[in-house]
Amino acid sequence: MSRSSDVGARSPPLPFNPYQQQQQRYPPMAPPAADFPPPQFFARPPLSNPPLDPTPPPPPPQQLYSRPPSSMLSTPPPPIPSKAPPFASPPPFAAPHQFQGLQGPPPSHPPPPPPQAPYFGGSPAYQQQQQQPLPPPSQGYFAGIAPPLPGVAAPPGHDIADEFESLSISSAPGTAADVKVEALPRPPPDSCDTFAQPAWSNCHPRYFELTTNAIPASHSLAARWHLPLGAVIHPLAEAPPEEQVPVVDFGTSGIVRCRRCRTYINPYDKFTDGGKYFRCAICNLLNDVPMDYVCALDEQGKRRDAMDRPELSQGSVDFVAPMEYMVRPPMPPVYFFLIDVSVAAVRSGILQIAADTIKSCLDKLPGYPRTQIGFLTFDSTLHFYSLKSSLTQPQMVVLAQVDDPFLPMPDDLLVNLSESRLVVEALLDSLPSIFANNENVESALGPALEATTSIMSEIGGKLLIFQSTLPSLGVGRLKLRGQEAHVYQTDREPALRVAEDSFYKQMAAKCSKLQIGVNVYAFSEKYTDVASLGTLAKYTGGQVCYYPGFHAAVDGEKLTYDLSRDLTRETAWEAVMRIRCGKGIKYSVFHGHFMLRSSDLLALPAVDCDKAFSVQFALEDTLLTSQLAYFQVALLYTSSSGERRIRVHTAAVPIVQELSVMYKEANIGAVVGVLSRLAVEKSLNDKLENARQYVHVKMVNALREYKNMYAVKHSLIGRIIFPESLKLLPLYVLALSKSLPLRGGFMDATPDERSAAGYQMMTMSRPSLLKLLYPALIRLDEYLLQVMSCVDWIAKNETIVYAQGSRGGGVDSPPQLPLTAEVLDPRGAFVTSDGQRFVLWLGNVLQPEFVAAILGPQVAHSSDLRKVPVVEQDNDLSKRFHALLAKLRKQNRWCHQQCVVVRQGESGRELQLVHSNMVEDRGAGFPSYMEWMVQIHRQVQQKI
C-alpha cells in the first residue's frame, strides 16, 4: 500500500486537489458562494472561532458586513479589469463565505444595513438594538451576511471575499480615518478560554497549539510567514473531568517506541504486514512490533484493537514508565519553606498568613503518606528546626555565622509529614509568636539558600521562598538599582531585568541539578530585586508571585489562595521534557521556565498544571515532501503518588505549499503566546523600545506579505487587509506593547513590577495570557440591576457553571465593553477582569446607595479606598455581585483575582489600575487603537 493512500485511510485526505478542481468548475469571477459544496474532507469545524454561546454572536457593527446586500451593488467598488486572473491559490481549508469586509462610508441610497450593535452590546441603546431578531446562524459566523442572490452579478472583488478581511482606512497621513472605532475587531467574550476542536487524533490544543496549523513545505515559504513558526506547549494543562488523559500501562514488556528516534507509539504510526511491523510517523523507520503487542489489521490497514487502546486512538496519553526510565527510585513530594522573618515580614503579617495557610494545607499536600516537609527561617541569622517525630516541640537551632553556613544537625531538618505531623503543626502554630517582636532588618537569603540546598540535596523537591526585603547579608547580597531614570534608553537598561549577582544563576543551576524547583514569593513595597530572585524560578520551572506593598487585610486572601493552590495542585516531580518533530523540521528555541540539559531536553525539577512553554521550529534545507508533519511532546515525570510516568502529546499537521493557507490557518492565541515570550526575552538583553519594535516589525511584515498576495491583484489600495484568523493581531500587539513588562519607560512601572510580570508572562497558558492582554470590561450597575430575583439567579447560575465545567462562560455572561475610557460612564460602576485581579471602578456621580449596598455603608462616603476589603454584604445586590465574581474566578483558577476598588478621579491609583488597562486608549507612548490601525496601515503600504 502506498504511503499516501495510507494517510488517506486514517485521516481525512488532504484537501488541496479536490478543492482546486472544484474551483475550476466555476467561472472565476462570480462563483456563487452559497453553492459551494461544503468541503467533504473537512474533519473539523471551520477554522474561525466557533461560536461559543448558544446565541449567535451579535451582528457585526455598522459598516461591518461581508457581502454587501445585493441592493448595494449599484455602486460597486473600483472595478477590476475583466481579465483579472482567476484565483491562483485557492485556500484548501477555506470554509466558503467566511469573510468580513469593511468598507468606507456606505453609499447613501441603499437601505441601511441590518441593525447592528457596536461593541459587544453594552450601554442601553445598544442593548435595545441587540434584541432585534438575529439572522439565522446558518449564514456563517459573521452573521448578517447574505450571500448574493444567484443571477445577480457579484461585485468585483467578490472572489477574493473568501480570503481576508479588509478595513478601509484613509491612507493620507493626518486625516481622520473613515472607519468607526466600534467596527474594529475585538475578541468576542470568552474567546480566550475557547480552543478549536482537535483534528483527527491530535492532542487537544490546550496541550499543544501551533501558531499555524499548516507547516510550510520549504524554507522560502517559511521565510515569508514572518510570524514565529512555533507552538505553545502546556503539558499538564487542566482538563475537564470527562477529558482526562488516559493512563496506559504496558507492564514489564516496556513501552513500544521507535528504535531510532525513540518516538513513543502514537495514532499516526502505521502498521503493516499483518500488524507485525509499524512505521514510525516521525522518522519513517520500519520497526518490529513486540510479540505480545501484535494485533491483526482490518481491511483499511488499521489495527482491530485501535479503538480499545488509547495510545492508538488518542493524541494524549500517560504511559506508566518501567524501571529503565528511572535513575533512582521515584522521589516523594518534598516541600521546603524558606521564610524571611525580618521585621518587614512580621509587621505586614506575611509570616502569620503563610504559617496559617501551610497548616491548613497539610492535609491536602499531594503524595500522602510519603510527603516530606521542612522549614528554615532567616533574618541576619539562620534558624534550623529539628522536626524529629519523637519530639513534642520542634527544636530550633540558630546559626549566627552566615559566611560559611553548615548544617548544625544533619538529620531531621527534612522529615516525613505523616510521621512528624504533630511537631510540624506545633512549629507552624508557634512560628508567628516566636518572631512577633523581631526587630531585625537584615536578610541573609544567600546563606539560607546554600544551607537549604544542602538539606535538600539528597532528594530535591519544591522550595518556596518568602522574601520580604532586599537580601542584604552574605553571598548573594543585592543592592538598590533601577532608581535612576537616566539608565533607561541606554545600554545599561536591560541589565536591570537580569540577575545582578552571578550567585543567583549559579544557585539556579545547582537547584536544577539537585532537582529542586523554586517558587519565589516576594512582598516588599520597596525594591526587592525580583529580577535577581526570579532567576531562581526561571531555571527550575518555578514561578514568581509578587505582592507589592503586601497588607494582610487586603492581600491576605490572595496570598492564601495562591499559596494553597501552589501546595495542592497536581505537580510533576523530577521531570524532563523533549519535543520530537517530523523529518525536515527542527526545534530551534525554547521559551519558558526550565533549564536545557542537552540541546533539546528541558529539565523541570517541579512542573505543574499552570506552567506553559513555547517552542519555535525551524525548517531544514530539504523540501518537505510528505503530506503531514508530526510533533510529539513527551514529559517524563514522577507523579505525586510515586509513579514514574510519561505524558505524551502527539499532533499531526498538514504540510502546505501555499502561503495563503498558512495565514488562513494561523492561530492567534498561539501566535500571541510565542510573540509575547519572544518580546519578554528580548527585553532581557535589549532596551524595552527595541523589544516592542521587534514584535511590531514582525507583525507589519506579516501583514505586508499578506497584502502583497492579494492587494495588487485586486486593486485594494487604500485598504488594510488581513486574514480572518489574524484579525486580532494588531490589537494584541498593541496590548502587548502596553503590557506591564514592556510598557513605556522609567515612569510607567517599577523594575520589580516589570520583572515579576515578565516572569509570569513566560509561564502563562494561552487563555490567561489573552485575558491579561485584553481584559474584560463589564458595566456592573446595569448588569446587577437587571430584573431577576436573586435566588433564581444564583440557583440558575450554579447549575450553569456546574454543567459547563471549568469553562464557566455562559448564557448569563454580562456583555463586554471595549477597553476605552470613553465607555466609563460617571453614573456607572465598572469591573475589569484581567485574570489577575478585578478592578471595581466607581463613577463620580454613581448613586451612593449602590456603593453602600455593594461595599457596605461605611465605604460609601470614604475617600480612601486603598484598603477597603470587598466582602459580601447582606443584600441581594451584593450577593449577585459576589456570585458574578465567583463565576469569573472559576474561569481561571491558577491565581486568585483580588477585587480592588477605585473611584473616579483618584489621580494616581485610577491611572495605574484602570487606565493602564485601557489598551484602546492612548497611553505609555502608544497610540489609541484607531490610530494604531492607521499607523500600521501606513507601514504596511510602504515599500521596503
Binding site: S502, K505, Q506, A508, Y539, M595, L596, S598
Partner: protein, 127 residues
Amino acid sequence: MAWDLALWILSFLAVAAALGIIVYQLLCLSDLEFDFINPFDSSSRINRFVLPEFAIQGVLSAIYLIFGYWLMFLLNAPLLYYNIRLYMSKRHLVDVTEIFNQLEPEKKIRFYKLGFYLSLLCIVIYR
C-alpha cells in the same frame, strides 16, 4: 643572544599552552553539543581554564612590551584588550544556565582565538 633564545622558548611554550587550552575548551563545547557531557560538567571544565588562558596571554604581552618587541606586542594588544574588557564586565566565564544559547558565539570566539594562537605559534617558530 641567550636572553633572546630563552624568551622565544618561553613564548613558544606559553603559546602552545594557550593553544592547548583553547582546543580543550572547544572539545568541551562540541561534546556538549553532541550530548556527551552535561552542561554542568562542561561549563565547569571550560571555566576552570578561562583565567589561566587570560593570564598566559597577559604575561606574554607584558614580556613582549618589557623587552621591547613592539611588533609582537601590537599583535597581542587587540586580544589583550578584548580579554580585559570581558573580565572587567564579568562576562569571561561561561554561564551554565544559558550555555546552549551561547554555544555558537562561544565556539566562534574560540575558533578565532585558535587561529590567532596558531599564527602566533608560526611566527614564534620561524622567527
